[in-house]
């Protein structure tokens, strides 16, 4: 079961059971939300982004949703990463999502760098399971979409 254990690393299961940032913050000035669904399995997420008054930095990300362990862990890991960084410049956030997408679509060719992606680097294994890439992308797509509206 090596393949399975590389997909479901302990870190992923931990995040899915004790997710960060779960529970939507109230709507506020300079905040925007995105609702995303995975039509294959019915998983869904609502993610809310708040940016600084001048709009240049991400200050808070919260989410709510239901889904598989991969989708729940991925949302949690995204929040952890943003929290570790503190206030993340908008451009950096966009680059992050792009890099994440590229790695997940690489069918196992491009691993996620732990220096850049933190705990989310544990999701590298997902890219070998094309049916599960959407699960991991769900929160990141919601983040990208909400940020574009914030």
């Amino acid at each position: 079961m090596n393949g399975l254990e590389s997909l479901y690393q302990e870190l992923i299961l931990d995040h899915s059971k004790r997710p960060h940032g779960k529970g939507l913050a109230d709507e506020a000035p300079h905040s925007a939300s995105s609702h995303q669904r995975n039509p294959i399995c019915g998983d869904e997420i609502t993610l809310r982004v708040r940016v600084s008054d001048d709009g240049t930095e991400v200050t808070e990300v919260t989410w709510d949703g239901a889904g598989c362990s991969i989708s729940q862990a991925s949302a949690s890991m995204l929040v952890s990463l943003l929290e570790e960084e503190g206030r993340m410049p908008r451009a950096e956030a966009s680059t992050l999502v792009e890099g994440f997408r590229e790695a997940l679509r690489s069918r196992g060719e491009l691993p996620l760098d732990e220096e850049v992606f933190g705990d989310a680097a544990a999701l590298s294994g997902v890219s070998k399971y094309t049916a599960r890439v959407k699960c991991a992308m769900l929160a990141w797509v919601a983040f990208e979409d909400a940020l574009a509206r914030a």
């Binding site: 997909l7 399995c41 362990s69 991969i70 599960r132």
Partner: protein
Amino acid sequence: MTSAPAPSPAALIDADAVRADFPILGERVNGERLVYLDSGATSQKPQAVIDAEVSFLTRANSAVHRGAHTLAAEATELFEDARATVAGFVGAAPEQLVWTSGATAGLNLVAYAIGNASVGRGAPESARFALRPGDEIVVTEIEHHANLIPWQELAARTGAVLRHIPVHDDGTLDLEAAAALIGARTRVVAFTHVSNVLGIVNPVSELVALAQAVGATTVLDACQSAPHLLLDLPALGVDLAVFSGHKMLGPYGIGGLYGRADVLEALPPFLTGGSMITTVTLDEAQYLAPPQRFEAGTQPVSQAIALAAAVRYLQRLGMPAVHAHEKALEARLGDGLRQIDGVRLLGDAPDAERVGLWAFDVDGVHAHDVGQFLDSRGVAVRVGHHCAQPLHRRFGLTASVRASTSVYNTADDVDVFLDALSGVRSFFGVNA
């Protein structure tokens, strides 16, 4: 080995012999023996079906119902023989079977034909099908999206009202509610023979009686029954019924629409074009009698011929034997699933007549994760909403896991699946 064992109505299927006819079952998945329990989504194909398609394409391929050359005549003969074989499989006459690309196409054909009748096409014969604002279309809460959305669209186009028969917690339809729902305004009653999630055989005759009492047209989705039960559609009394070839050991892209002769005679066509006309002028056209009236354009000929081979394969096994075999697997599956902590079966009505299919929820583990875990052990199941979102919502779920059987499954397949499943919750750290 391409032929099935000799028929023996009383005998169960020799699944080991049957398995040898299905080349894909020799595949290994993730280093494990393939345990294929996803036949509800699509069945595997025996070599006889693959050979039938190859043989037609390599020896007889030609356009049917046109051309005077030898191959054209042979292709036409094979194509119409296939129609007779597949029609006979569901108790129908050849002219009662329309080829479609599958059940979804068949249901859309019916809904669009009724829509055409509703704007006066095919009148006066078709007037009996015309829907007016306030007329009612009745479906059930357990339908596959293919037997729901075409009716939603038809209702929206005609001003008819779509209503649904609810399902009890145990997966059986609420027949009291059905009796109250089906009334003077009901024009169409569309329902599934066997739900692709619940696996329960629905009471067709009761629902047909309710519909007939008010003169409503009945439409049966027989996708999940045709591969598993001995079907006699005329005896069931439905006006129209659909099934898909690929779920009954046949190829993709082919299916059947059965219709009572008087119903098909009176329905206007949906798709129009070549091969369905008698006389065409620049202004209008006269249409052929059924089934050709509903078969515009080039037909999936090699698929139809291969579907007939699939039907002959099932007939050689004997549908009573197929049902008995799958019933035994269903019981083994159900008994085993009930013993695994945290597993909730959907539609666990005691004593219900069933096919070999169970959908279930695993408490604390998402269906996708369950499916991934089982896949690592070589077990293929369906996860998700199985194109039945309203039914899942009814049971408080967004997704479930489904194990479904066919003629080639064995008790060992069931045991491998159950053994793997019993390890899911501990792997994902959910306390039993």
